[in-house]
C-alpha cells in the first residue's frame, strides 16, 4: 500500500515540474512557479497533508482529524504563555502595495484580498503582543503614497480602515520612494525611546519613483528606521538592499512568500518584538510610568513636546507639563507617560480564564438554562437515551453544558467560546451569586483575587 502510494506521488510531482518548465505559467501551479523563483528552485519541498492522516481502527479518519485540531489548539495555547517582553514601545508603519500587480491570483483568492485579510490579522496580533505600541497604515497606488490610517494605538481604527480598502480596486504602479518618505514623515515625531519600523507588503517587481531611492535609504538609516519587506512575487534587488542597509547589513527582514501559509508566517513574525533592540531594554526592569489624565482647555497653550499650540492634551502626572500625544516621555521630567488602557489590553494573557469542563449527565440536572445568556439546555434524558449519546466525540459535552470549575455555573458552548476568546471573563465568577453571609463573601472575593495573582 504505502509503496505504491509513494510511487504515485513521485510521478505527480515530476509531471508538475515538466508542465511548469513547459508552460512557465502562473495560475493553478502558483506555489510551484514561485518556488522556482525563490533561490533558483533549489529548495524543493512538497507538503503532503494527506499523508499525515492515518486511518483509525474503525476505518475513519475522524480520530486523526480531531488530533490535528487539538494539536493546533494546544499550539495556540502554548504560544500565549511565552514570556514576551511587552514593555517595548514600537512604532510601525505598515505599507501595503495597492498597485496593479496585486490583482494577480497566484495567492488565493487574490493577492490584494489576502493581503488585506492578513493586514487586519497583523494589526490585531500586533496589539496583543505589543500593547503600548503604535501603528500607522499607508498604501501605494498610482505612483502615490496614500494614507490609510494615522499613527494610533487603537486596533479597531486600523482594522476598519483596512476593511474599507476592500471596496476599492488596486491600480497603477507603486512607488517605494514615496511610501518610504511618507512613512518617514509619520515616524518623524515618534519619541526616541521606542523603535521605528516600516513593514512593506510588496507585490510588484518594480518601483516607479520620482527621485533617487538611494538618497531615501540613507535618510532612513540616519533616522534609525528599520525596514522589513514581505515580497509576494519574486526577489527584487532594491528591496534586499533597502532591508540590508536599514538593518545594519542584515537582510533577513526581507522575505518572499512561497504560498499563503508562508506569507502569513512572514507577516506575523513581525509582531514579535525585535530581539536585540538594546541591551538596556532587554534586561527586565521595573519601569516607572505615569498615567496622565486628558484635559481640555478653553484657550490653546503650547505643548511641551513639540511647542505646538493645542487646547487639549495630557498633563504629566509628576510635573504637570503638557504633552499632546501618548505614549510619550515627559520632556521635562523624563517620566514615561502612557495610557493605562493600553497596558490593560494585555492583561487577559496574565490572568487567563481557566478552561471549563464538560458536564456529564449525572450533574446536568443542576441547571436548565445557560447562566450567562439564558438559552435553555436540552432536558436531562433517561438512562437509555444517555447511552446512545455517550459515544459522542471527545471534548464536546454530552449534556451540552460546560461548567466553570470556580463558580460551578453551567454555560452553553457559545458562551464558552465567547468568554474564552472575546471577553476573557467568567460571567459566573464575576457576578458571584453568593448566598453566604457578607463576611464569607468578602473572604471569598479575596481568595479569588489571590488566585488571580498567583497564576
Amino acid at each position: 500500500m504505502a509503496d505504491s502510494d509513494e510511487e504515485y506521488i513521485g510521478g505527480i510531482s515530476e509531471d508538475e515540474d515538466d508542465s511548469n518548465i513547459l508552460q512557465g505559467s502562473r495560475g493553478a501551479a502558483g506555489p510551484a512557479s514561485k518556488r522556482r523563483k525563490q533561490k533558483g528552485g533549489a529548495e524543493f519541498e512538497l507538503s503532503r497533508t494527506w499523508e499525515t492522516l492515518v486511518e483509525g481502527a474503525d476505518g475513519t479518519i475522524s480520530s486523526t482529524v480531531e488530533g490535528l485540531l487539538e494539536a493546533s489548539k494546544r499550539k495556540r495555547l502554548l504560544k500565549d504563555t511565552t514570556p514576551l517582553q511587552r514593555g517595548i514601545i514600537r512604532h510601525v508603519v505598515l505599507v501595503l502595495d495597492l498597485s496593479q500587480s496585486m490583482t494577480e491570483k497566484d495567492l488565493r483568492p487574490t493577492r490584494y484580498l489576502l493581503t488585506l485579510r492578513y493586514a487586519q490579522e497583523f494589526v490585531r496580533e500586533f496589539f496583543e503582543q505589543n500593547p503600548i505600541s503604535q501603528i500607522g497604515v499607508l498604501g501605494l497606488r498610482d505612483g502615490l503614497a496614500l494614507r490609510v490610517s494615522d499613527m494610533s494605538g487603537n486596533p479597531t481604527e486600523h482594522i476598519s480602515a483596512i476593511q474599507d480598502l476592500r471596496s476599492q480596486d488596486p491600480k497603477g504602479l507603486p512607488s517605494l520612494q514615496n511610501g518610504l518618505e511618507m512613512a518617514r514623515g509619520a515616524l518623524f515625531h515618534t519619541p526616541s525611546h521606542g523603535t521605528r519600523e516600516i513593514l512593506i507588503i510588496f507585490g510588484s517587481l518594480l518601483s516607479s519613483d520620482p527621485g533617487d531611492i538611494h538618497q531615501t535609504i540613507t535618510t532612513l538609516t540616519d533616522d534609525k528606521i528599520r525596514v522589513g519587506i514581505v515580497g509576494l512575487a519574486a526577489q527584487v534587488a532594491i528591496c534586499r538592499e533597502l532591508c540590508a542597509k536599514t538593518n545594519g547589513g542584515d537582510d533577513t527582514s526581507y522575505g518572499v512568500a512561497l504560498n499563503e501559509q508562508h506569507f502569513r508566517e512572514l507577516v506575523m513574525d513581525v509582531t514579535t518584538p525585535p530581539a536585540s533592540y538594546s541591551q538596556k531594554q532587554s534586561t527586565s526592569s521595573l519601569l516607572m510610568m505615569g498615567f496622565p489624565s486628558r484635559t481640555i482647555e478653553p484657550f490653546p497653550s503650547l505643548c511641551a513636546c513639540h511647542s505646538n499650540p493645542t487646547s487639549g492634551g495630557y498633563l504629566c502626572s509628576r510635573c504637570n507639563s503638557k504633552v499632546c500625544g501618548l505614549p510619550a516621555e515627559c520632556p521635562s521630567c523624563g517620566l514615561t507617560l502612557i495610557l493605562s488602557t493600553h497596558l490593560a489590553r494585555s492583561y487577559h494573557h496574565l490572568f487567563p480564564l481557566m478552561n471549563w469542563v464538560e458536564v456529564p449527565w449525572q450533574r446536568a440536572s443542576r441547571s436548565t438554562a445557560c447562566f450567562a445568556c439564558g438559552i435553555p439546555f436540552p432536558p436531562v434524558t433517561l438512562r437509555e437515551q444517555r447511552q446512545a449519546t455517550e459515544t459522542l466525540t471527545k471534548g464536546m459535552s454530552v449534556s451540552s453544558r460546560y461548567e466553570c470549575t470556580v463558580c460551578k455555573n453551567h454555560f452553553c458552548i457559545d458562551c464558552d467560546l465567547f468568554a474564552h476568546e472575546v471577553v476573557h471573563n467568567c460571567p459566573g465568577c464575576q457576578s458571584r451569586a453568593a448566598t453566604q453571609s457578607g463576611d464569607d463573601v468578602y473572604r471569598h472575593q479575596n481568595e479569588i483575587d489571590r488566585m488571580d495573582t498567583s497564576r
Partner: protein, 390 residues
C-alpha cells in the same frame, strides 16, 4: 467572492433599518441610592428612577418594532438579570441564581384588569423588571450590605455581553446567516468545535464589517462611588476591550460622583459619558442624550466628555494610582516597588533601576567634591611632566 455575496444578501434584506439592542446595566447598590437620596440637594428616589428608566425602555422599544431591550442589575453582591429572564418553569438553581425564576403569574393576576390596553412588549418589560427588582431587594440581607459597598459592575458587563453575543448570533442566523451557519446550528450538541469556531469568526466578521447587523449598545446607569470598582479592574478592562472589539459603545449615565473606569470605558468604546448635575431630570437626560442609536449618532453632536481620568488600579493593593511601577515583562502595575524586586505576577526578578535611590543628591555632591579634589589637588597636572623624563 464570499464577502461580495454576503453583502449582496444583506442589501436585499436591509430596506428597513436594522433593529438595535439596548442593554441597560442598572446599579442597584442600596448604599449608593440611599446616599443619593439623603445627601444631594435634589433627591431622586430609586422608585422614581426606575419609573423613568422604564419609560426610556419603552421609548426605545417604540423606535422600531424589532428593537430589543435587556436589563441587568449590578447589585452589591451579585449581578442578576432583570429583564429577559427565563420562563417561569425554570427552577431555581441550588447555587443561588434565583433571579431566573420570574414569577409572572402573581403579577398577571394583579395587573390583568389594569393593563389590558397596554402594548404587550411594554407590559412584559415593566412587569418583569419591577418584579425582579422587588425580588432582588427582598433577597438582599442586612449582612450582604454591611461589608460590601461596591457594585458588581464587571459581572453585569460580562452578562450583558454574553446576552448581546447570543442575540447577535440568533439575529445573524435568522437574517442571512448563510447555509453553513444554519447547518452548524441545527446540529445541536454534536456540532464540532471547528464549525462553531468558524461560525463565531464569521459572525464577528459580520459584526466588524459595515454590513448591517443587530446594533447593540450598553447603557450603564451608575450611582456608586469612584473607587468601588478598583478590585474589579482587570475584569472590567477585559469587558471594555471586548466591547471595543465588537464595536459596542458603552454609554455611562452617572447620577452621583465620578467613576474612573467608566470614564475610560466610554472613551475607549466611543460612547457617551454624562455626569448628571440634576439627577431629578433623569428621564430628560435619558431621552435626549441616550436614545439615539449608532446610526443616528453619526449625524449628532454628542455630549461626550472631553477630559478623561486615565488612572489605573495597582495589582498589589488595589489602589487607584496616577504614577506607578510597571513590570517590563508582563506590564503589571504596582503602586510601590515590590519587595526583593520580584514581580508579584510573573515572578521575574526585576532590575530596580534607580527608583527609591534617595541619596541621588548626596552622591552628586560627593562627585563634585571629587572633581574639585582632582582639580585642586594638582596631582593630575604634574603627571605630564614626569612622562617626558624617561
Amino acid at each position: 467572492m464570499n464577502a461580495v455575496d454576503a453583502t449582496e444578501h444583506y442589501e436585499t434584506s436591509a430596506h428597513d433599518p436594522a433593529p438595535s439592542l439596548l442593554t441597560v446595566i442598572l446599579d442597584t447598590n442600596p448604599h449608593a441610592w440611599a446616599l443619593l437620596e439623603q445627601t444631594s440637594r435634589s433627591p431622586l428616589p430609586f422608585s422614581t428612577a426606575l419609573a423613568n428608566i422604564l419609560v426610556f425602555l419603552n421609548a426605545h422599544l417604540a423606535c422600531n418594532y424589532a428593537n430589543e431591550v435587556a436589563v441587568v442589575a449590578s447589585h452589591s453582591h451579585k449581578a442578576a438579570w432583570l429583564y429577559p429572564t427565563a420562563s417561569p418553569s425554570a427552577r431555581p438553581d441550588p447555587d443561588g441564581d434565583v433571579s431566573m425564576t420570574a414569577d409572572g403569574s402573581i403579577n398577571g393576576q394583579k395587573d390583568a384588569g389594569r393593563q389590558v390596553n397596554k402594548y404587550r412588549p411594554f407590559r412584559i418589560v415593566e412587569e418583569q423588571v419591577t418584579s425582579n427588582v422587588r425580588q432582588l431587594m427582598d433577597l438582599t440581607s442586612r449582612t450582604d450590605m454591611d461589608n460590601n459597598s461596591s457594585t458588581m459592575m464587571a459581572g453585569a458587563l460580562t452578562l450583558a455581553l454574553s446576552h448581546i453575543n447570543r442575540r447577535t448570533i440568533a439575529w445573524a442566523d435568522a437574517h442571512g446567516g448563510g447555509d453553513t451557519s444554519s447547518v452548524s446550528r441545527s446540529g445541536g450538541p454534536d456540532t464540532s468545535t471547528t464549525s462553531l469556531l468558524t461560525r463565531r469568526s464569521t459572525t464577528t466578521a459580520a459584526n466588524d464589517g459595515t454590513a448591517e447587523g443587530l446594533q447593540s449598545r450598553i447603557l450603564i446607569i451608575s450611582v456608586s462611588s469612584a473607587t468601588g470598582s478598583a478590585h474589579q479592574y482587570i475584569p472590567l478592562m477585559n469587558g471594555i476591550f471586548a466591547c471595543q472589539r465588537l464595536r459596542i459603545p458603552i454609554d455611562v449615565c452617572k447620577l452621583s460622583g465620578d467613576a474612573v473606569f467608566l470614564q475610560q470605558a466610554s472613551d475607549a468604546t466611543k460612547g457617551i459619558y454624562m455626569s448628571l448635575s440634576e439627577p431629578r431630570g433623569l428621564l430628560q437626560y435619558l431621552m435626549m442624550a441616550f436614545l439615539p442609536d449608532q446610526r443616528s449618532r453619526k449625524h449628532l453632536v454628542l455630549p461626550t466628555r472631553v477630559d478623561v481620568d486615565f488612572r489605573a488600579a495597582c495589582f498589589c493593593h488595589r489602589r487607584v494610582v496616577d504614577v506607578g511601577f510597571v513590570c517590563s515583562i508582563c506590564l503589571s502595575i504596582f503602586c510601590e516597588p515590590p519587595e526583593n524586586g520580584d514581580c508579584l505576577t510573573c515572578g521575574t526578578h526585576l532590575d530596580m533601576g534607580d527608583y527609591g535611590a534617595k541619596p541621588a543628591l548626596v552622591a552628586r555632591k560627593k562627585k563634585k567634591k571629587k572633581v574639585r579634589a582632582n582639580g585642586t589637588g594638582a596631582s593630575a597636572t604634574p603627571t605630564p611632566t614626569p612622562t617626558p623624563g624617561p
